[in-house]
């Protein structure tokens, strides 16, 4: 039985922007960005590839629709104003963690001024300002935090996704850890790296991200003290 041609009858399940994006997000989460093609997405929707183009103008629109969709998961948890900036920062990080296959697009959109960046920044600025920082310091701290956040998210997200953007053997089976990576090279290479890493207690630090935040926090406090006086 071939598909019927023409406009669908009122009864049958209609194609919506929301439905398309929901399926697309699921596909990317489960199979990676590389698996998302218009043809495959259409198949998953039980529809012709070109049907999608009546709801979204092209593939890149699907991509940014996905990003928008995922960023919207972030909006609700702004429970109260003064939960503190660390809460805001952590919420964004958790979001990216939840969708490792999307890291690149999320971070890219964040960095290139997508609509979602405004909401995140608004809340971050609010939190920082209510912590008593001067306006100039608010801006500088926010920039620092967002950049750091994106860097961490990228590193974590990439190590989290099993098969990367290029699903060949190149990025597969990478150790993702400095000390493991070191073992591939002759032992007279990178001496300082070796010495420092070997000298450390075997338990890897519980959470590099939290330590990074601590250091940044200390820096912000120190600097705003300097600026104020």
């Amino acid at each position: 039985m071939a598909k019927k041609l023409g406009r669908p009858s009122a009864g049958q399940a209609q194609l919506t922007r929301e439905r398309i994006l929901a399926i697309a997000v699921r596909m990317v989460d489960e199979q990676g960005i590389a698996a998302l093609s218009m043809h495959r997405l259409a198949t998953e929707l039980g529809v012709d590839p070109m049907a999608i183009y009546h709801h979204l103008p092209g593939k890149s629109a699907v991509l940014s629709g996905i990003v928008e969709q995922v960023f919207n998961e972030l909006r609700p948890p702004a429970i109260s104003a003064d939960a503190g900036w660390q809460t805001e920062v952590r919420a964004y990080r958790d979001l990216v963690r939840a969708h490792p296959n999307l890291v690149l697009h999320l971070v890219t959109d964040m960095a290139s001024g997508g609509p979602a960046i405004l909401a995140v920044n608004e809340r971050l600025y609010a939190a920082l300002a209510s912590a008593g920082l001067a306006d100039r310091m608010v801006v500088q701290s926010a920039n620092l935090l967002v950049d750091y956040l994106n860097g961490v998210a990228l590193a974590e997200g990439l190590s989290r996704q099993y098969s990367g953007q290029y699903p060949d053997q190149h990025h597969a089976g990478e150790p993702q850890d400095l000390s493991q990576l070191l073992q591939r090279y002759p032992s007279d290479h990178f001496p300082i790296l070796r010495r420092v890493l070997d000298a450390l207690p075997t338990d890897t630090s519980p959470d590099d991200f939290e330590r990074g935040l601590d250091i940044i926090l200390a820096g912000i406090q120190q600097w705003s003290r300097l600026v104020h006086i």
Copy 2:
């Protein structure tokens, strides 16, 4: 006159891994990653697409070859050991700045443990250790710096490349600036963002990156003082 078939005669310019990668880097720098296809690369080389496969096993190998090539530009400037960690950090940033179209791949490789990360980390560790930091602090500071660096590089690189990875109208003509971006929305949205940004002197801070480094530096000093005592 059709191309001759078979192995090329000794006289004529031969295809090399180096020549391929050099042209590829040039293409990406000038026209963006999206413009780099095996067919086009071959045309630029005056050669059949499949000829490339005798020197590089596939496109992803070309990509990582490009990244490797570009990272190698970084090696020489390690003039002396104690130029300080800020010099190391800035060198990496300048490298990425010089190849904005490659940001994503450079940062990705950096973040996912590519071969280049080792050299960069070695020198960074050396600089931090010679600044008198304890081993544990060296590792944490290095992680923080690398993550921040990648975040900044990504943000800057993306804003620097005119036509992005998706050369449609979506990412084209984006303001790339918070205050410009704000003007698109009704003026009762994002009040705090508006207030803080408007309150700032009109001259945008000379270099957010340098301020970020200052803040991080202050944090590192503060923290290493805490740990030491």
